[in-house]
């Protein structure tokens, strides 16, 4: 790898004949690659610029109060993302709370418990959950999951109704709760695949040492595997959270698009991304469009903060969104 560094200049003295074309080719190649990198960074900067630029009418009119105001009434030219932020936070947090233990358990199963053959089948199947498009999650959620939730909610309410979160059941099963469940399934493969990869990096000597001292498999997990990977797993969870915060289409099918704050999970709600997906194609006026750009800016800032947080928590682990 050392030779790969520093580019063509390192080998200048080794040339046996002058090769101007070669040097030119090297420069062109380097230039193209650097250009691609610059393009990536510029795109990112331009994303923020476009959101600020097109959201300007709403930014100058509502200011920072936009974030705390809970009234989203485009027909009265009153817009604030407070209620949308609440819906975004509650549905995503619910997804993270459910998907984290499940994902870690799946990661443990795939990395430490399953026989090789089972692992080779189950691992890719779990990852396939991430390949299902959000439109299918939304459509499936609306047609299949919503009627099921409709039957489930009264039971949960009567059993756990003393907790304010589990209020009276929603009329037809469309609620923040349903959105949270759909998001749980969507971020589950992210958390489980990343934590499986992290658990596989734990040195075998440590695990075998603990087992030789008489630790049971669970004690090896609790004493060795989880402590050594805690930062990486937390970063994976934050990545899952980021994905849940920004999901638009699947959520817009099942959450109900009611921009109000309800304490109960069983009430319909709205999230920033889903609200943009719903209203952007047919805005009331220019201010409405600008407000959606402003709301998008708020979402991007939150999303970037989670990306930075994931990177900072991860520390030495290279936890980034896996592709293969």
């Amino acid at each position: 790898m050392t030779l790969a560094r520093g580019g063509p200049r390192d080998r200048a003295g080794m040339r046996t004949r002058p090769r101007r074309a070669g040097r030119l080719g090297d420069r062109v190649m380097f230039g193209l690659c650097a250009l691609a990198g610059v393009l990536v960074v510029l795109t990112l900067v331009d994303v923020v610029f476009q959101l600020v630029n097109n959201g300007e009418p709403a930014i100058s009119r509502f200011g920072l109060g936009f974030i705390t105001s809970t009234a989203w009434k485009p027909n009265f030219n009153i817009e604030g993302v407070g209620a949308l932020l609440y819906g975004t936070a509650v549905s995503s947090l619910m997804a993270v709370v459910l998907a984290t233990p499940l994902g870690i358990a799946i990661g443990l199963f795939l990395s430490m418990m399953a026989p090789a053959r089972v692992r080779a089948v189950v691992g890719p199947l779990v990852e396939l959950l991430a390949a299902v498009p959000s439109i299918i999650y939304g459509f499936w959620g609306l047609v299949v999951l919503v009627p099921f939730i409709d039957k489930l909610e009264p039971g949960l309410h009567s059993a756990l109704g003393f907790i304010p979160l589990f209020g009276p059941a929603s009329p037809i099963g469309i609620s923040v709760f349903t959105a949270g469940l759909v998001l749980t399934v969507m971020i589950l493969p992210i958390i489980s695949a990343l934590s499986r990869d992290l658990f596989l990096t734990v040195p075998t000597e440590l695990k075998d040492g603990a087992a030789a001292l008489g630790a049971t498999p669970w004690e090896v997990i609790r004493g060795i595997v989880l402590p050594t990977t805690v930062s990486g797993v937390s970063a994976a969870v934050v990545l899952g959270l980021g994905r849940a915060l920004g999901e638009a289409i699947a959520v817009s099918f099942v959450i109900g698009d009611v921009t109000a704050i309800h304490r109960s999970l069983f009430a319909p709600g709205a999230t920033i991304a889903a609200q943009i997906a719903n209203e952007f194609p047919s805005p009331d006026d220019a201010l409405h469009t600008a407000a959606m750009f402003y709301a998008g800016l708020v979402l991007v800032v939150i999303g970037m903060l989670t990306s930075v947080a994931a990177r900072m928590i991860a520390g030495r682990f290279d936890v980034t969104q896996r592709v293969i």
Binding site: G37, A131, I136, P217
Partner: protein, 307 residues
């Protein structure tokens, strides 16, 4: 037993004649461990079950609609016909997106592995930018391209949708090509260097061919992801297209499979929803096949690279 032996046993802190089975505390610890293992297995089964339920739900509702005619006919009326124009539109948009994202993604991967040193500050910034880009909600990408292309052109178009999808694909492409380029053995680079080959010819003639399988895998996965995206198309391609005609000009509104499903779920006819399930089934099959294919190619190319 002699008196000396009896005395020896009495001085021992444990009973050496006891059977070797767990008792008391150890039994509890073993039970806890078994419980955790069962729970983890159940969690994995749950995830697989969810996948099966979703696939089954889509297949059972979509398969009845599916016929050869469904794939080669344009939709007619509210509920008749097929999804030919939407399939062509998705192919068109995704092809343009791939044409944009593939070269830029591979070049970015090359920059990170071949031209930037391991401790380069530029490379670290670029990797960070790619991470943030991968974390951008797709609806935000749609808003961005709306401001960048749709507003200046005063028109939503398949091309704008393709640019948005390219931005969704780019970080995936860059990351997968970076990963696979790192797998190319250093000895290949050194051999090329020893022969006095220029860096650019090494990259084009040695490194890229060696990494071809992995890059292809990444490209297929990114394409499959883009083909299922709805949010960017909703914003950038919008509803401005003719639902009943095939549109070959990407600078007009182009129909797509995902938008077809999105628009027909709330149509008043039950047959329209059935037609949407058919479209969902086709989309799902295409994406699952692409994923399985990508995995097979990856396994082969990994074997070739000796990993």
């Amino acid at each position: 037993m002699s008196p000396a032996e009896t005395a020896l046993f009495e001085r021992m802190p444990f009973d050496p004649t006891a059977p070797l089975t767990p008792s008391g505390n150890l039994r509890r610890r073993a039970a806890v461990s078994r419980f955790v293992q069962t729970t983890a297995t159940a969690a994995a089964l749950f995830a697989v079950a969810v996948l099966v339920i979703i696939c089954y739900g889509v297949a059972v509702r979509g398969a009845s609609t599916l016929s050869f005619g469904f794939v080669i006919q344009n939709p007619s009326g509210l509920a008749g016909g097929g999804i030919f124009n939407a399939l062509i539109g998705t192919l068109e948009i995704v092809a343009i997106a791939t044409l944009i994202a593939l070269p830029i993604g591979i070049l970015t991967g090359l920059y990170l592995t071949e031209f930037a040193g391991p401790r380069s500050r530029t490379a670290r910034t670029l990797r960070f930018a790619l991470d943030i880009m991968a974390g951008l909600p797709t609806i935000i990408v749609g808003l961005f391209v709306y401001g960048l292309i749709v507003i200046p052109q005063h028109q939503q178009s398949g091309f704008a949708g393709a640019v948005a999808l390219a931005i969704v694909m780019l970080p995936l492409m860059a990351r997968s090509s970076q990963e696979v380029l790192l797998l190319v053995p250093g000895s290949l680079r050194e051999a090329a260097d020893a022969l006095g080959v220029n860096r650019w010819r090494t990259v084009l003639g040695v490194i890229l061919p060696a990494a071809f399988g992995g890059i292809l895998t990444g490209a297929i996965l990114a394409t499959a992801r883009a083909a299922g995206e709805t949010a960017p198309l909703l914003i950038c391609d919008g509803f401005g297209f003719n639902q009943f005609a095939t549109q070959f000009n990407p600078f007009h509104g182009v129909p797509s499979v995902s938008m077809f499903i999105f628009t027909s779920y709330d149509l008043p006819l039950a047959q329209a929803v059935t037609r949407a399930w058919g479209a969902a089934f086709v989309l799902m099959m295409l994406i699952l096949i692409a994923n399985v294919l990508a995995r097979l190619i990856l396994a082969r190319s990994r074997a070739k690279l000796g990993r």
